[in-house]
Subunit: 329 residues, 2 copies
């Protein structure tokens, strides 16, 4: 944490995967808010499964990816450096293919570069990878705590902030910090159908850290904005482009259009990257329609009804008031 | 039906309340799509209950209101004309107070005027009310079938139409008519959280009458529009104003803003009224938060989370491309 600012109270969603021995404990976000449970992951295949099944998401995916390399290293005491490198490359391939919108390869390629450099220079691959990842994660943690502080500074007494989906602990922690400074705040969380991250995760962690939060249907964004009930929008991002466009959970785009319509400042937390030029180049994951057509295992339609579930949408940079960035690569 | 046009196949949602003797059978829309069941209503109090609990909605409410008068008349063989008038006034009061956004009084006041005129001119109140309501309903039925025909004419081969909430049979019947004329059509139905009218009612009746329908989350409207997957929007309305503003299920307003953003024609089915000047004068019903915070009886949040559920929002006339009107009063 830069300076001598007070550390905020931590949300479980801020750091949702922890390596213990040869088991990676991954927070099962699908069980929240009913249970705070961690899924034991002991192999790359299991890591891919928790990502594909969206047991973890957003920053959790990033943590799972990096920790899976640490896990595989810890399980490979008997391998030569070259064999370990091959193993890590197989891990990379499996992870990269798990979901299309999140830029797994941007992270996995760094790990492979460390391993390859070590092999090329006759150094210890294990040490290179472990030190690299641990240093990297420590840096990310520091930067995310710094971003929490910046969000807290952005929040002003009297604000009524609308957020969509979930920003993995940061907004709730910033709210907690700002309230400790005496700021009076209110939050609107959208439900975020079909996966309900707003209802299950965001409203839960905000109230858990003492914030005043109201849930609305995704349909009510235009209504609360036109009634003057919102004065700031803060959302996260799953992927950013060189030109400032970004992808986030589906629904973010229409919230940005509405914020623009009403002159409400729209802020986004980003991990800037130059690897994709513009939003149109981001591959959008189309998830299985069954995830839309059922709700808590109950079928919500009857007869021959198709479902279309784009997981993300793209917000053009023109609609963004300001970005609060973290550099992860 | 005007001219010699073929009658469309009827959707159960087109005429969801039927009087049989002294029982009004009201389609239980909350059971659709699982069951096609009718709730027996035998008193004004029971009628108010099915309206408040949203067992019926939109056009169904209108039918329940008028049929409740017929029901009370049929149960009042022994009353004098004046006593019957007093009874109908009590019925009026109970119905008017059931839900704020739907203009019950615009309909109930007509019935009371018929009854009062009959008393004033020494005529049979029973006959005046029964003939008045039956004639009125026959006229509404004719006009609604005419509107179905107009919607069918509006639909062009190749159209991909987005709709929100449910327009009580008319869109599905229009789709059926248009398809019989050889037009190829596709429909997107929004889920319409929190009450899921799009998932439960609209997608069900569209596919039931042979239309090709895809369900999307309310969050995906901006996404499908920006991807060029929609070329028309058709929605209903719960209440219209003299200046063309109208109220409809919450979420309609943001869809109108998005349609405008993308230059997609936005059509609304209205029941024009001069009784309210502009949208700002429409009282918006705020429904109980528990209807938002639970889903199929499952609580979707934990801890101290409030819910805010405005049932409707208002679309300003500037965002409307054209209206397809029916005159009900």
């Amino acid at each position: 944490m830069p300076g001598n600012a007070k550390l905020p109270k931590e949300s479980p969603l801020f750091w949702p995967a922890k390596l213990r021995g040869t088991t990676l404990k991954v927070l099962d976000e699908t069980q929240i808010p009913e249970k705070l449970e961690y899924i034991p992951v002991t192999s790359t295949a299991e890591a891919v499964r928790v990502i594909k099944q969206m047991k973890t998401r957003a920053f959790g995916q990033f943590l799972v990816v990096l920790n899976t390399f640490l896990l595989e290293v810890r399980k490979s005491d008997n391998l030569s450096d070259k064999a370990l490198l091959q193993k890590l490359k197989r891990t990379t391939e499996q992870l990269n293919n798990s979901r299309p919108t999140f830029p797994f390869s941007e992270v996995t390629s760094i790990v492979i570069r460390w391993a390859e450099d070590a092999v090329a220079h006759g150094k210890d691959v294990r040490r290179a990878v472990v030190q690299g990842i641990n240093g990297y994660l420590a840096g990310v943690r520091e930067q995310r705590l710094f971003r929490v502080q910046r969000i807290a500074q952005l929040l002003e007494s009297g604000d009524s902030v609308l957020t969509h989906c979930n920003v993995s602990g940061e907004l709730a922690m910033a709210a907690s910090m700002a309230q400790q400074e005496g700021k009076e705040l209110h939050f609107f969380a959208t439900e975020t159908r079909p996966y309900m991250q707003g209802a299950r995760l965001t409203s839960w962690e905000l109230q858990r850290l003492g914030a005043d939060v109201t849930l609305i249907a995704d349909n009510a964004v235009g209504s609360v904005m036109s009634d003057g009930l919102v004065n700031k929008v803060i959302v996260g991002s799953d992927r950013s482009c060189a030109n400032g466009d970004f992808a986030n959970k589906v629904g973010t785009y229409q919230i940005a259009v509405l914020a623009n319509e009403f002159g409400i400042p729209f802020y986004v937390l980003t991990q800037p990257s130059k690897k994709i030029a513009a939003g149109k180049d981001i591959p959008i994951e189309i998830r299985n329609a069954s995830e839309l057509l059922t709700f808590y295992k109950k079928k919500i339609v009857a007869g021959v009804v198709q479902g279309f579930y784009p997981g993300f949408d793209v917000v053009p940079h023109e609609l963004v008031t300001d970005t609060i960035a973290i550099k992860v690569s």
